[in-house]
């Protein structure tokens, strides 16, 4: 299982990374591996305001649809439109080209509540 040392995590398998004031969000390598081939990603409208834990989108693999949960409250300022045509980037580069949304957090302190890489690894291993 690959992890991104700069990211934090939540137990629903999303990662979050700081980029200036913004938070970039995607799903983990463990999640893409479990889903297998991703064929579609549904992302929110730019401008949408969501509370931590709300569903911000759906990732569909060959066999199933899985909800995506936002790791911090805030406003969606950008989505990765490339995923519309190349959803497989979620499989090939989950921490990079497969990113999903950027958000302007409304409560930056929520960052501290997210899981560290080590903590997330334990969550993932328990699910294996």
């Amino acid at each position: 299982m690959k992890l991104d040392a700069k990211a934090k995590y939540q137990d629903t398998h999303e990662w979050a990374r700081r980029e200036g004031d913004l938070i970039v969000v995607g799903i983990t390598d463990f999640a893409q591996e479990s889903l297998s081939d991703v064929v579609f990603v549904e992302l929110p409208e730019v401008g949408a305001v969501l509370e931590k834990g709300e569903i911000f989108g759906v990732v569909e693999s060959v066999k199933a649809a899985s909800d995506l949960y936002i790791p911090m409250s805030g406003e969606i300022v950008e989505t990765n439109v490339t995923l519309e045509d190349e959803p497989e980037l979620v499989n090939s580069d989950p921490f990079g080209e497969g990113w999903m949304i950027k958000l302007q957090p409304s409560d930056p302190k929520q960052w501290d509540d997210l899981l560290s890489g080590d903590e997330y690894e334990q969550v993932a291993q328990a699910e294996e």
Binding site: S36, D37, V39, F40, E42, V62, K63, A65, N91
Partner: protein
Amino acid sequence: MSQELKRTNLYRWHVDHHARMVPFAGWEMPVQYPPGPLAEHHLVRRSAGVFDIDHMGQVTITGPDAEVYLNRLVTWDIGLMRPNEAHYALLCYDHGGIVDDVFIYKLPGRWLMVVNAGNLNKDYRWLQEHAGGYQVAVKDVSAETYMLALQGPKAISLLQKLTPAQLAAAPRFTAIEDKVDGVPAVIGRTGYTGEDGVEIFFPAEHARQIWTAILNTGRTAGIEVGPIGLAARDSLRFEPGFALYGHEIGPDITPLEASLEWACRFQNDFIGREALLKQKENGVAKKLVSFALTDKGVPRQDYPVLSAAGGEEIGVVVTGLYAPTVDKYCGNAFVRSNYAGIGTDLQILIRHKPKAAVVIKRPLYVPAYRK
């Protein structure tokens, strides 16, 4: 009641090769191997894939009345079949609903019927219940008969290296009894992917030998071949328009509704004929269509189908997926007959949001060798 899942003789091989195993029709089966369902799908379309399909049931029918008996049970006129031919057929209830879809092989001295894994017990009971008055012996030979499929444009040239049988001389939908890797086998030029290929039947204890012989022969001959799981099997069967029990067919669906009238020979007095003739006369209320989304999204089984104009519910999705070869989000749905015309605009309700779709011509995919 929970029941222990059955395992095929290749279970250990699948696990050792990192297949993801899932429960399927009472069996623990590989849903995918490390390359993943999309790569497996493309491999079969491009070269060759081998499928462990031992979960499928096999029944032999023998005896002097075998042909008359079978002609009462199945919708196809098997009297039309020549020795060593194979044909698709349906078992129907009196009301015209479908018990199962089957493949029948006319072999020397016996008929071999291949049935769906999850329906084996039901089908076997059905066959036995209707055997009264006929001099026939119906035997479930599933346990001792192993079944593999090898499918794809390179499947025949690969298998030819393992058998003295003249595969090129056996057209589609015929069967040859010969040897594969020295093991006595029935080789049927049949399959469930739309591609050329074979389904092979042989004594179950040789499963691993033949499976690895196919994979190793591919490797030494420079023919790309790999194992294919259930996920790719589903997308491979969807594109050429093959029905799947529990989706396109079932007890509440008739062959006419499922666009399988071609598998019915009404000259024959098969079980369900009267009901189907009546339905033929009156017309069907619902009909199977294939559709492609024009909006983005993945349709799934049980999603409602709406009319494009009024948003009225007019049907339901029975298979929905991303179709890899045609590169579209597609599905099959039963819709009210007046919405079944090719080009009809529909909406599929995906997670409560209507997405635009259009009825398209079936099948979505025709392999090059059939064009």
